[in-house]
């Protein structure tokens, strides 16, 4: 099995699960090769130097390439640039061109049986309402370059599905480990949490009752591991998300955040930081424009950080995951309610100073 992005948030969890099987030999493509091998990576896993941005060779040595072309049965493509506000060309370089390179590599794998491509439910872009596993996103445009590049990636993958056994796994936003609260991959949500903690987030666009879809990394890994190993279906697209029943409203999440700050840092309460106001997008944009015109660098960075994910909140939607749930539920793999573990995530962020003291 060849895994790209095997050192990332989801990748490392998946690698740990696959490496536990006797009949699977896992090779992880890393930009740093064996030198960049994470300490936590299982000993049986081999790390090879390579990069999806280096074309169909994946930057592998000729020998490694030839060996892999002969032996690989499974490709798990997790590598992605998940920064929301990267210039579009840069996002495409990894997410679109990088995927094209992986697929080109896959075509030369003589024993290939399965290719798993990881995407995001936010390929839905600015679409509102219900977004299903059958839907193709982007009809109403996108909120950021990440979404757009992933939608373009899916288009490439769907064409390749005609000749390769590929399934697409669209993930919701991963916020950490539901059991421990540990966050291994900080994203815009965590940055926004920190700004809120610092009292630099006066408002977020959205609606009080709008749902925010978040998932823990352990569920994402368990679900995709099961779907890939036990129920692989070429041509299928799955949503791994919280959906309507396990998501929380934006209002409830803000309340839970404030409550967690007060619970785990009682002194924080003395700072009298108000719960951010939930506002229409138009009002939020006026605030952002004012901060820009004022040239206030601190608030400018803060608003941009919130902007990166919060604009999606202005386009309320729910993700339908019937296909994934239909397969996962009988196996007992279910996404937890976000409010059942969210507190642990916030606690971990506070107690490690957002990972600095982890």
């Amino acid at each position: 099995m060849l895994v790209t992005g095997g050192t990332g948030t989801l990748g490392r969890e998946l690698v740990a699960r696959f490496a536990g099987a006797d009949d699977v030999s896992v090779v992880v493509l890393t930009r740093a090769g064996a030198q960049g091998r994470p300490a936590a990576m299982p000993p049986a896993v081999r790390a090879l130097a390579g990069d999806v941005r280096r074309g169909s060779t994946l930057g592998l040595s000729e020998t490694d390439r030839a060996t892999l072309h002969e032996s690989v049965t499974d490709i798990v493509h997790c590598a992605a640039d998940t920064t929301f506000n990267r210039p579009l060309a840069d996002a495409r370089a990894t997410n679109v061109t990088g995927t094209e390179a992986v697929l080109a590599f896959a075509r030369d794998c003589r024993r290939l049986q399965r290719v798993a491509c990881f995407s995001t439910v936010y390929v839905a872009g600015r679409t509102t309402g219900c977004f299903t596993e059958q839907d193709v996103g982007g009809a109403d445009g996108f909120v950021n370059s990440y979404e757009q590049s992933k939608a373009e990636m899916e288009a490439v993958v769907r064409v390749a599905m005609r000749e390769l056994p590929i399934a697409i796994y669209r993930l919701s936003t991963i916020i950490g480990d539901a059991r421990s609260g540990e966050v291994t991959g900080f994203n815009a949500i965590h940055h926004a949490l920190r700004l809120l903690y610092q009292g630099l987030a006066p408002m977020v666009p959205g609606r009080e009752t709008g749902l925010v879809d978040l998932i823990p990394v352990d569920f994402a890994a368990d679900a995709s591991h099961y779907l890939l190993e036990r129920e692989f279906a070429a041509g299928a697209t799955y949503h791994l998300c919280a959906g309507v029943t396990k998501s929380a409203t934006l209002g409830a999440l803000l309340d839970a955040t404030m409550a967690a700050f007060e619970r785990y840092r009682p002194a924080w309460r003395k700072r009298s930081i108000a719960r951010p106001a939930i506002v229409e997008l138009e009002t939020y944009e006026l605030f952002v424009r004012s901060v820009e015109e004022a040239g206030n660098q601190v608030l400018l960075q803060a608003t941009r950080a919130v902007q990166a994910f919060a604009y999606q909140l202005a386009y309320p939607k729910v993700f339908d995951a019937r296909r994934a749930e239909g397969v996962l539920a009988p196996a007992g793999v279910a996404v937890p309610d976000v409010l059942d573990y969210y507190d642990r995530i916030v606690r971990w962020c506070i107690e490690t100073n957002w990972g600095a003291q982890a």
Partner: protein
């Protein structure tokens, strides 16, 4: 029901009114004039020769004259000072840089309210100073005037007065707002003919007392708490925003008002914004200058519900609903 209201009010503004360009030339802005212009400001009012006590005296004299109120009708003076210097006397013709020139220990025992009472012959009035709430200070005076009138039958007329002036030559820009000097004075009475005080509400967040070092946090704190305070005031008044005919603002930037109106879901047309550009932010007197001008402009009708909101360092958010 006892109706306590603002029966009459007036204000004083210095004649000097330099434009943004002039202030920029004089080095009295922190950033470019164009930024403040974009936020709705045009000119500031600057007291070149008047002290804050002079301005207070002028406003009260005008008020008593306009309303034919005899000096001995005033039972209580609530003198509001937003700046810490406003609660002290100007001890000498102010040199550049400061109105707080204390030369003698006894200078610390000289009070503007007493001087005002004496100069204007308010012989029946007791006096009290209200301060330490920044631009929200005068709101507290009105609130306490109402409470006193409801609690003490022998108090019939309360004079609320507020006057603030920045030190000579000091910058006129504070957190993207253009600051003016000015004063206001009002008579608060039982059974007032207009401006019945329907509800007041104030929130103080002392955690932000060190204003200079927390500018960004203060900007961030302003909006969500402003919304909460406005909503709570409306709740106390038993009305909704739909019932409010006019929002009478403090003259912080028009832009910040547009954002706040968006937050509370209030149409821009309800904001009396004419004075933001031409008067600037007179520290504490804004809402009452605007109330007077809106009245004089014939915009207000009997029974109109008015929402007055202000914000002061300290930090303090204050709001009241009046029935005109």
């Amino acid at each position: 029901m006892t109706r306590v209201g603002i029966d009459a009010l007036t204000y004083y503004l210095p004649a000097s009114a330099p434009t943004l360009a002039e202030l920029e030339r004089r080095g009295m802005l922190r950033g470019p004039a164009s930024t403040l212009a974009g936020f709705g400001f045009e000119r500031a009012r600057v007291a070149e020769s008047e002290s804050h006590v002079d301005m207070a005296m002028h406003a009260v004299r005008t008020l008593l004259d306009e309303t034919n109120t005899a000096a001995d009708e005033i039972d209580l003076v609530l003198y509001a000072g937003a700046l810490t210097s406003s609660s002290t006397m100007e001890c000498a013709p102010a040199p550049t840089g400061s109105v707080l020139l204390m030369r003698d220990l006894m200078d610390f025992f000289k009070y503007p309210a007493s001087q005002l009472q004496s100069e204007l012959d308010l012989v029946n009035a007791s006096v009290a100073g209200i301060d330490q709430q920044g631009c929200a200070t005068i709101f507290s005076s009105v609130r306490l005037a109402r409470a006193t009138l409801l609690a003490e039958p022998d108090v019939r007329t309360v004079l609320c007065v507020s006057a603030d002036r920045l030190p000579h030559g000091s910058p006129r820009e504070v957190v993207y707002n253009l600051v003016s000097d000015g004063a206001c004075a009002m008579l608060v009475r039982r059974d007032a003919a207009r401006n019945r005080i329907v509800a007041t509400h104030q929130v103080t967040k002392g955690a932000f007392w060190d204003s200079g070092s927390l500018e960004n946090e203060i900007i961030a704190a302003y909006f969500p708490t402003a919304r909460t305070v406005i909503e709570e005031t409306l709740r106390k008044a038993g009305v909704t925003l739909n019932d409010i005919r006019w929002v009478i603002p403090h003259n912080v930037s028009l832009r910040s008002w547009e954002i706040l109106l968006g937050l509370i879901g209030c149409p821009r047309e309800k904001l009396f914004s004419a004075n933001i550009g031409r008067v600037g932010h007179t520290i504490a007197a804004d809402n009452f200058i605007n109330l007077r001008d809106a009245t004089d402009a014939g915009l207000l009708h009997a029974g109109d519900l008015l929402l007055l909101f202000t914000f002061g360092y300290g930090l303090n958010w204050s709001c009241m609903v009046l029935e005109h």
